[in-house]
């Protein structure tokens, strides 16, 4: 690649042709402010509308200031990032944005984590000289996400991630000029739109325009209610990210402090979603082997590839976009819902608590789980299997409010029996993990042999689409993996055309899987943080004494005491579900004149 030499702030630098001024400056340690620009390196997420102009710099010989995030360097270019003119222009941009921004930082849920607020601090804004007209959009509260468009600065990051990375297309810029905003079609609610509730728009929104629905108050009230037994489950990806909220380095594994904090908060039982991930493998793995055996015996009608079903955003996606394929995903519920279903039956009976007196809380990296636990089919007579789902961020708030010094907590462990888990359960937290866990069990059940090496390195990685073939004693199983719904769409289109070579496909909606779910600590575009969490997941797996789901003793007991066989009658009743066609129906109107 050709190198280009240029001068930035009086220093010479050489960068590859095609580099933007922004990146060239970053390499030299010059941090030009940005707002609309957003990139998740290596994940295929890039928003570069060049619209906000907070990043303008002076380029010698040009009359106008140039936006650094979209202007490529040229040979001999002389750039000033901190001239009076550039600084004043940026300040004006910022002041104009602030003039149409409700200044209610004190009670904004993004406060302390807001990129606009950070810029106001960085620029030492003390007054806003412009009297702007204030936008007045209706606040929308969906099952997972709150949209407060009065705070929107039209960076369009959400639109980019929803359309390009997820190919969901729930959001689009609408109108022009002052009323311009990002919205759904006809301003319908997110629930009416194709939105999957993946929460990635929330994860990238620089301000408080898109935030999660907060259930912390309900959780505190439940704990305080003496009549209630409150059970909490924690998803795998939470333990490798929560530490960031307390200033720890990304990738810190805080399982011990996490369980201690939950006990200090007053939960009656602290359990692990890794446990129900193991249970998921028993059910989903059995389903996979069942379909595969039929197929190998020459049954042509069997539905293959089987698709994983533990990501509720992914479930929403195929229900809306590919309803014709709704019979091919596994019918196994997600680990969150399996946990709820068992907690409120088996476990409630064990401790002699009535269903109505038990509250199940889940701590998730995910916003789709908030929506999922409210789905009608996951309730018994209106009583949901999982009552409240809170995010990693919400848990951090709970811990801070309760005066718990997280870092210095003495490590505790999960309670028994729904807290015993394996390495297979924890890798559910990242892309490729669910299918690897399934392979560990399927291999041993199918071949009757013990795996020499439980690590299926060929299934790991952060590329958007991956493929591998697993040799099960001569029978070759082709596995496809996608994260990001745009990648899932590609694999689904192959299935639709009958061209798919895969026997099983794993899909997770978020970049890297749940480790970068919409409820995780915000990374502000730093993909190294995601990488660190990813490594921490596999490190946790390696540290576990048991690493295969079917060897989890408390899962074995559950089948013996309660469920019978995997995919048996009781399992079907409690652990499996069905899917709906959600594509808008165009009906012929006979009366309308």
């Amino acid at each position: 690649m050709d190198q280009v030499k240029l001068i930035i702030d009086n220093k010479e630098v050489a960068v590859p042709n095609g580099t933007t001024i922004l990146k060239a400056a970053q390499q030299m340690g010059i941090n030009i402010p940005t707002l609309c620009h957003f990139e998740l390196k290596g994940m295929g997420v890039h928003n570069k509308p060049g619209g906000c102009r907070i990043c303008v710099v002076e380029v010698e010989g040009r009359r106008n200031l140039a936006p650094a995030c979209v202007t490529e360097v040229t040979e001999g270019m002389v750039v000033r990032t901190n001239s009076i003119r550039a600084i004043n222009a940026r300040r004006t941009v910022l002041e104009l944005l602030l003039s149409d921004h409700p200044a209610d930082c004190l009670k904004c849920s993004k406060s302390g984590n807001c990129e606009l607020q950070n810029l106001a601090i960085r620029f030492g804004i003390r007054e806003i000289p412009f009297e702007g007209e204030q936008s007045t959009y209706q606040l929308e509260v969906s099952p997972s996400i709150i949209r407060d468009m009065n705070k929107c600065i039209m960076c369009r990051r959400c639109e980019t991630i929803c359309n390009d990375f997820q190919t969901v297309g729930a959001l689009s810029a609408i109108e022009r000029g002052f009323p311009a905003v990002v919205s759904t079609a006809f301003n319908q609610t997110l629930a009416q739109s194709p939105c999957t509730f993946c929460g990635q728009c929330v994860a990238v929104c620089p301000v408080g325009a898109l935030t999660e629905v907060d259930h912390t108050a309900k959780v505190i009230r439940s704990i305080a209610d003496e009549k209630k037994t409150v059970v909490v489950q924690v998803a795998p990806a939470v333990r490798v990210a929560l530490g960031e909220e307390f200033g720890m380095t990304p990738g810190s594994i805080v399982t011990g402090q996490l369980t201690a904090a939950l006990k200090a908060l007053g939960f009656d039982y602290v359990f692990d979603t890794d446990w129900s991930a193991d249970l998921t493998i028993m059910e989903e793995g059995t389903e996979l082997l069942g379909r595969l055996t039929k197929y190998l015996n020459g049954d042509k009608d069997v539905k293959l590839p089987i698709l994983t079903s533990c990501c509720p955003a992914w479930v929403n996606f195929f229900e809306y976009q590919f309803p014709a394929l709704k019979d091919i995903p596994s019918t196994a519920k997600s680990p969150q819902q399996m946990f709820g279903a068992i907690a409120k039956t088996y476990f409630a009976d064990k401790i002699g608590v009535k269903r109505e007196d038990m509250i199940v809380v889940s701590v998730m990296p995910c916003l789709a789980k908030k929506y999922e636990c409210g789905r009608d089919e996951f309730a018994v007579n209106g009583n949901p299997d999982v009552d409240y789902s809170i995010t990693t961020r919400e848990l951090a708030h709970l811990i801070k409010q309760a005066n718990i010094d997280f870092a210095s907590l003495e490590e505790a462990s999960f309670d028994s029996p729904l807290g015993e888990s394996t390495g297979a359960g924890v890798i559910f937290g990242t892309t490729g993990g669910v299918i690897e866990a399934a392979c560990r069990t399927a291999y041993e059940v199918f071949t009757g042999k013990t795996l020499d090496k439980v690590d299926f390195e060929e299934l790991r990685g952060l590329e958007g689409i991956r493929a591998a073939t697993i040799d099960m004693n001569g029978t070759k199983i082709n596995i496809g993996i996608a994260h990001g719904l745009s990648n899932a769409r590609k694999l689904l289109e192959q299935v639709e055309r009958g061209e798919s070579q895969f026997h099983a496909i794993e899909v997770m909606a978020c970049p890297g899987g749940c480790i970068d779910g919409g409820g995780q600590p915000l990374h502000h575009g730093n993909s190294d943080i995601i990488k660190a969490r990813w490594e921490a997941i596999y490190k946790t797996d390696r540290s576990m004494p048991i690493r295969k789901s079917h060897e989890n003793p408390s899962i074995q007991t559950l089948y013996k005491e309660f469920l019978g066989n995997p995919c048996g009658h009781k399992s079907h009743e409690l652990l499996h579900t069905h899917y709906f066609d959600k594509k808008p129906v165009i009906e012929i109107d006979l009366d309308k004149k």
């Binding site: 969901v168 079609a185 594509k583 808008p584 165009i586 012929i588 109107d589 006979l590 309308k592």
Partner: protein, 162 residues
Amino acid sequence: MPVRIKIRQENREKIEAICRSFNNNPGELINVLHQTQNFLGYLPAEAQEVIAQNLHIPTAKVYGVVSFYSFFSMIPKGKYPVSVCMGTACYVRGAEKVLDEFKTQLGIGVGETGPDGEFSLASLRCVGACGLAPVALIGEKVHGRLAADDVKVIIEETRKLG
């Protein structure tokens, strides 16, 4: 559960034919919208939904384009569309007062249609009848040298046409 959209059979077929005539190419969205609006007179949500499904693009994107351009409308025009000229000549001779009077008398804003579907209201750039300023068009008929006081009368006269 799924959103249900109703549309008349012939409208659906016509819109699908328009999409087909552009090879269902998403790049032709604006042309598809133009032709659909020419046919229906406006672009109701159900028409946009049909277009989105046929061009394989998100409905939000179609709506984004419809709401961006002022020449697209989601509201059917009234039986008598009223357009008040806001060109310079009309403006300096009091077109704004005339427009305001139309708003008051009809009880609707610019870009809206009354609940009985009789009248809709729009403002126009110069219609080239500056000698008659201020001017309003009701349907095809030109009303010139208007004052706010005349508005009530001409609305009533138009209504009588049935």
